[in-house]
């Protein structure tokens, strides 16, 4: 065991720190100008799509560099590296791996330049965790697919210019996973209707999307017909240690401790309350466990050992912590914790109250906690499938 960084790694960390010293403005003074300049600068550094190969315009960063970049960005609360979130996280890697040369040239630069948003159309009204049974249908007619059906809980759909869509192209497949195809569809195509869905914390970041006889050129198919399931599971060499998230969670823990130091419970300082002290320590243990689990995953990735479902452990920790930490803050604040961001008298700008209504972003998107437990039980412990 050693926790040393090589000279190259230390030099890279210093490079990131110097860049941040020079280019990062305090959080409350980041206006549109700052943001435009930031995106340009990080793009020049090739830190947008940092894990992607250099040939397609990415940064070609190795696993350790990816970790260091995320860690430094998170510890300084820097804005995201590029605003095309879905493109960077999901669609881009799939296009790089399965796309045609023409598709790569058409889409990858725009994702890296934050030109527009992508969204991903997976879930349907009756298809959630059991994604393979999706119904949205595409029928081939000449050089086009004709798409009919609907997608729901589509994050960023109200703002997206393109959608990466999973459709059923064969209705009697041997296995549910076969007969699914991935299509890249322009959101202003005739026949598409987007109905934003308001979330419980207010605002509409996701939507239901309806497809009525939408014509999609066959050239916009990603990968082979019937191969859509594989396309969604990218195997690019992304670091999966979640150490960037852990840095942010330690920062949140510090804010929680600050809240405890200035709050009272039952007429006494909250910091003297045994239950509160213990709860904070429990959070710390779980965040530290995530950090160290992450180092173990990282070690496996560096040694090129297979890393599979064990990362579900950190996903579960994160989901639970996100729910429990924000709920703890709101409970500690009592009635003063009930004001949301835009309401008179909100504590800490209503950030705790708003966060206490926003955890599904983390806890439900990308697989609910129950699904993560199924993954651990079936793939790691070898228990029979439901």
């Amino acid at each position: 065991m050693d926790f040393e960084y090589t000279e190259e790694e230390q030099a890279f960390r210093q490079e990131v720190r110097d860049f941040l010293d020079e280019n990062l403005t305090a959080a409350n003074r980041r206006d549109a100008n700052f943001m435009a300049n930031w995106l340009k600068k990080v793009r020049e550094k090739r830190w947008v799509g940092f894990s992607w190969p250099k040939e397609v315009g990415g940064g070609g960063g190795n696993i350790m560099q990816q970790v260091i970049l995320k860690e430094e960005m998170a510890s300084r609360k820097a804005p995201p590296l590029g605003t095309c979130m879905m493109g960077l996280a999901w669609v881009g890697p799939a296009i790089i791996q399965y796309g045609t040369e023409e598709q790569k040239q058409r889409f990858i630069p725009d994702i890296l330049d934050s030109k527009y948003h992508w969204c991903t159309g997976y879930s349907e009204p009756n298809v959630g965790s059991d994604l393979a049974s999706l119904q949205c249908k595409a029928v081939r007619e000449g050089d086009f697919y004709i798409v009919n059906g609907t997608k729901i809980w589509t994050s960023l759909a109200p703002f997206a210019s393109w959608i990466s869509l999973l459709v059923r192209t064969s209705s009697n497949p041997e296995s549910k996973h076969e007969g699914i195809t991935a299509l890249l569809v322009k959101m202003d195509s005739p026949g598409i209707e987007v109905r934003p869905i308001e979330i419980m914390a207010g605002g509409a970041v996701f939507a239901q999307v309806f497809f009525d006889e939408v014509k999609v050129p066959v050239d916009n198919r990603l990968g082979e017909e019937g191969n859509g399931w594989k396309v969604t599971i990218s195997s690019l060499a992304n670091e999966r240690s979640s150490i960037g998230e852990v840095t942010a969670m330690y920062e949140k823990l510090e804010r929680l401790k600050e809240l405890v130091r200035k709050s009272r419970k039952n007429g006494k300082p909250a910091r003297d309350d045994v239950g509160i002290r213990r709860q904070i320590a429990v959070f710390e243990a779980r965040i530290e466990a995530m950090r160290l689990n992450g180092f173990r995953y990282l070690t496996k990735q560096i040694k090129r050992e297979p890393l599979s479902s064990e990362t579900s452990v950190n996903k579960l920790h994160r989901a639970n912590l996100e729910v429990e930490m924000t709920d703890f803050a709101v409970e500690l604040l009592g009635q003063s914790g009930l004001q949301l961001r835009d309401q008179e008298g909100a504590v800490d700008g209503g950030s705790w109250a708003t966060a206490a209504l926003s955890w599904p972003d983390v806890a439900i998107c990308g697989g609910t906690p129950n699904i993560q437990k199924n993954i651990i039980a079936e793939r790691i412990l070898g228990l029979p499938k439901d």
Binding site: M1, D2, F3, E284, R286, L292, T299
Partner: protein
């Protein structure tokens, strides 16, 4: 960056596991449990010959001179197999002597500890209180060079088996400076009682001291950090054994859930069963990471030892207590029988919980260290 074990350590793990699987399967554990001493001298001697009893003892004194990360590898396996022995007490005592004894003292004691010819334990705390200096009350009367010890150390792990004890006491008065001395079992005025616990693989006892002398030949170096470090090593050792034992309980229960058919299906298919097993996996993976890091800090980053040891033990003893209960529970009635092995892990989880501080103690320490 490498948070994993090296090839030699993986080899050591294979070797220890093979040795214990062959020589100390659960059927053998049950035989040893029935012995009056609850201990097998023969197995202990073999462990000594293989170098494992002197793993953290310097080569100059018959040991192998390895680190606490290496020791962790063995402890995970002794925990997995429920190997009944004073291995934890012995290893902490040996490691402490290697750090605090003079050359001539090391020569006198460590060679026999490395071979297994003699067994060491710890008589640090005076009662069932917090595992820290507040709980050291025995007073040694004397002049700074030689002390007379009178009193009783209760709850001395493996007391009945040990040939020598590291004893903590206060110099002169009840709020005097803390000192450490080696007291030998056959020294005049020493009387030892050994007794069992609910976990038949773990033993405890007491050491009575009646005008026992501690002088420059037996006093050890002791500064303000020595006791904290000694007890933190105990925290690390117990938690390392928890990992192995918890994994064994999870394995046993998972296998049972795959085989036991109810309502025409293996019970492991029902989410109330499989989700609980997944949570157990999550907990073990997590306190395992915490403990590996704590073990690494013992030699490589001592300033971080207290916090990281507390995080590991706080998480592990609470999780393991629930794992013990749920493993029996998931087995149904068979798990309740003496004949079936899963109950042995439930008992181990009860034993491990208070040793070197329970979850309440360690979370409180984490909160204090975290400036709350």
């Amino acid at each position: 960056m490498n948070f994993g074990f090296n090839e030699e350590q993986e080899l050591l793990r294979d070797q220890v596991r093979r040795f214990l699987d062959t020589n100390c399967p659960l059927s053998k554990v049950r035989e040893i449990m029935k012995e009056p001493e609850g201990f097998s001298r023969q197995l202990w001697q073999q462990m000594g010959e293989l170098g494992w009893l002197g793993l953290v003892i310097p080569p100059d004194y018959g040991g192998v001179g390895l680190s606490w990360v290496d020791l962790t590898v063995i402890l995970e396996e002794t925990g997995r197999s429920l190997y009944p022995s004073p291995f934890i007490s012995h290893s902490i005592a040996a490691s402490t002597l290697a750090e605090t004894a003079t050359d001539s003292q090391q020569k006198r004691w460590l060679t026999d500890l490395a071979s297994g010819d003699s067994i060491a334990s710890l008589a640090i705390l005076d009662d069932d209180g917090p595992p820290n200096a507040d709980n050291i009350t025995l007073v040694g009367t004397g002049n700074g060079k030689s002390f007379m010890l009178n009193g009783e150390k209760r709850l001395v792990p493996d007391a009945g088996l040990a040939d020598l004890f590291i004893v903590a006491f206060r110099e002169g008065t009840s709020n005097g400076k803390i000192a450490l001395a080696v007291v030998e079992r056959d020294q005049q005025g020493v009387s030892v009682t050994g007794t069992g616990t609910m976990d038949q693989t773990k033993r405890t006892g007491s050491v009575k001291l009646d005008n026992v002398t501690a002088d420059e030949t037996s006093l050890l170096h002791c500064d303000s950090d020595t006791i904290v470090r000694l007890l933190d090593k105990g925290v690390v050792a117990v938690t390392a054994e928890i990992i192995g034992a918890a994994e064994a309980a999870l394995d046993m229960t998972t296998n049972y859930a795959k085989e036991r058919i109810q309502f025409d299906s293996p019970i492991g298919r029902y989410q109330s069963v499989k989700h609980r097993l997944a949570e157990i996996y999550l907990d073990i993976e997590s306190f395992k990471s915490l403990l590996y890091y704590a073990a690494w800090t013992v030699d490589e980053s001592p300033g971080e030892l207290s916090r990281s040891a507390s995080l590991a033990k706080a998480y592990a003893s609470q999780a393991f207590a629930q794992i013990g209960i749920d493993s029996v529970h998931l087995h149904g009635a068979i798990g309740y029988t003496a004949e079936y092995d899963i109950q042995l892990y439930l008992k181990r989880s009860k034993w491990a919980r208070p040793m070197y501080g329970d979850t309440d103690y360690h979370y409180e320490r984490v909160a204090t260290l975290g400036e709350l």
